[in-house]
């Protein structure tokens, strides 16, 4: 028997938007002892540095900045009985659901949980992760790090900037650096399309005449101490084409080249990870492969919108509270199978007995598409189809399958996307 210092019904690891919504929902669904463990000095997570607006249109029905969205949820959680421990790092979670953590104030603590929600979010890929050739000069940083410097610490990382990657953070930082007086010379994207939201191409790049180089990548960084020059080349697939080089004199390179769910703690707790999402395999109620351990938000799959993180976390928090209060879910399991055109799905497993009316399945398609058809089959028979006028890997898709259809289908649910016949 393991010793522990405290006991909670639901322990939530991470106090960003996922953790706040999970805690709020766990309290609303009957849990009386709920704890959020946050490693930063306040809750809110990355929202606190996302000073731009556009958050909350789905959940609050108005357009908020990141700090406003975080502030509203922090206030909602303060109105519940949930405890919050800040400045505290979770070191390990055991399969027996002992959460080991450390803080300056309380030192080492072991906390016993009846249910756990993993809400650690994700982290940015770095230069090392994508192996950009060239000098190891200073002035090369991830877009999120630059965002923290500018918006929270009050430092400008540079004056002449090249941004690699056209994900939303890269686009947002192109505008932010421009507004603060820097010159953004180029946003460079390996793919033939942007991975960011269309609205961000319009309001972050087009509004400020920042050029977007699609099908290009950085092939050299030059600079003895500080970045002096960046060379980009057009690519054929992933291969740079000789002779297409363009040089930019600049002092800063920002990287917006993808996010990786942060699951080291999950893996040690025995949670199975899906290689496609790099997050946990989850059931319809966001439970992972370990009973009583749930996960939600960007630690499961990287979302485009915080509103969807909130929605997912409300379901995870509710399920964690129900588990802590003794509810057990069983019955038949349907595996969701990705077929051509679909990169991954969340959830990956559905238990029809645990569905009240319908189940929402989130996924991403593999390329930019015009008129398309999403087909849902079971044992080769089509049970549902959905039409879309426009699809892109940068835009998460959602379909809703009614329980009556699940009850009729076999043990697998195959989802594919194809171009519509015109």
């Amino acid at each position: 028997m393991m010793n522990y210092d405290k006991h909670y019904e639901v322990v939530i690891v991470g106090g960003g938007p996922a953790g706040l919504a999970a805690a709020y929902s766990a309290c609303r669904n009957g849990a009386r002892k709920v704890l959020i463990i946050e490693r930063d000095r306040e809750v809110g997570g990355i929202l606190n540095q996302c000073v731009h607006n556009g958050f909350g249109l789905h959940y609050f029905k108005e357009e908020l900045t990141g700090p406003e969205y975080a502030g509203r949820f922090a206030d909602m959680v303060k109105g519940t009985r949930a405890d919050i421990m800040v400045d505290t790092m979770v070191l390990e979670i055991t399969p027996e659901k002992i959460v080991k953590c450390a803080s300056q104030q309380y030192g080492y603590q072991a906390i016993k949980a009846d249910a756990i929600v993993l809400c650690m979010g994700c982290r940015e890929r770095t230069r090392g992760a994508i192996e950009i050739p060239g000098d190891r000069s200073s002035g090369i940083l991830t877009a999120g790090t630059a965002q923290r410097y500018v918006n929270i610490e009050g430092y400008m990382p540079g004056k002449k900037v090249v941004i690699l990657g056209s994900g939303d953070i890269g686009l947002i930082m192109a505008r932010r650096m421009t507004l603060e007086g820097a010159k953004v010379l180029a946003v460079v994207e390996l793919c033939p399309y942007s991975n960011g939201l269309n609205r961000n191409i319009v309001q972050c790049l087009n509004d400020y005449n920042i050029p977007l180089y699609l099908s290009h990548t950085i092939t050299n960084i030059i600079g003895k101490t500080r970045v002096e020059k960046v060379v980009i080349s057009e690519v054929d697939g992933f291969t740079p084409i000789p002779g297409t080089e363009i040089e930019f004199e600049c002092d800063t390179v920002l990287l917006s080249v993808g996010l990786i769910p942060e699951n080291e703690i999950s893996i040690r707790a025995g949670v199975d990870i899906d290689g496609r999402t790099r997050g946990a395999y989850v059931y319809e109620n966001m439970q992972t492969s370990v009973e009583g351990i749930f996960a939600s938000g960007n630690v499961v799959h990287v979302h485009d919108l915080v509103d969807f993180v909130t929605g997912e976390s409300i379901r995870a928090g509710a399920a964690a509270a129900e588990y802590a209060l003794g509810k057990r879910v069983g019955g038949r399991v349907i595996n969701v199978v990705t077929k051509p055109g679909v990169n991954y799905t969340v959830p990956q497993k559905i238990r029809p007995d645990n569905i009240e009316k319908n189940v929402e399945i989130f996924f991403r398609t593999n390329k930019v598409r015009g008129n398309s058809v999403i087909r849902v089959k079971s044992d080769g028979n089509e049970i549902a189809k959905f039409k879309r006028e426009h699809m892109a890997p940068g835009e998460m898709e959602k379909i809703s399958i009614p329980k009556v259809l699940l009850d009729r289908c076999g043990d697998s649910l195959e989802i594919s996307v194809e171009d519509a016949e015109s």
């Binding site: 000095r41 306040e42 606190n48 000073v51 731009h52 607006n53 556009g54 249109l57 357009e63 900045t65 990141g66 700090p67 406003e68 975080a70 502030g71 500018v150 918006n151 929270i152 610490e153 009050g154 507004l179 603060e180 939201l197 269309n198 609205r199 191409i201 319009v202 309001q203 509004d207 485009d304 919108l305 006028e389 426009h390 835009e395």
Partner: protein, 114 residues
């Protein structure tokens, strides 16, 4: 006929605006898209967010935003106004930071408690 991508919400509808027929909009999924399409071609506006200096708080910057969209042409003039602002904690979300941005009557407001 002008093609636009709606920026009102993250959905990003592909709009078609007919300049010759009273800026009638098609391709919008909601009424706000029609309003945006017309406005974007006649008098485009944006909400501007930034930060200002703050003393006595856990951080040295406080996020701010325009309380309503301001004309696109005033973006850099509005940014200029923020350079001289220095707040003193405590700050409450919604506190007015600058009362009137360039004669628009629209204020800059604080976007968090600090």
């Amino acid at each position: 006929m002008k093609e636009l991508i709606c920026i009102v919400c993250p959905k990003g509808c592909h709009l078609k605006v007919d300049e010759e027929n009273g800026y009638s909009v098609t391709g919008n999924a909601c009424p706000r898209g029609a309003e945006y399409g017309k406005k974007e071609l006649t008098a485009p506006t944006r909400v501007i967010t930034s930060t200002v200096k703050v003393r006595g708080a856990i951080y040295s910057r406080c996020p701010v935003k325009t309380a309503a969209p301001i004309p696109k042409g005033l973006i850099f003039a509005a940014m200029e106004l923020l350079n001289d602002v220095e707040l003193q904690a405590p700050v409450r979300v919604g506190d007015i930071v600058i009362e009137d941005i360039c004669g628009t009557g629209i204020p800059f407001v604080a976007a968090r408690d600090l």
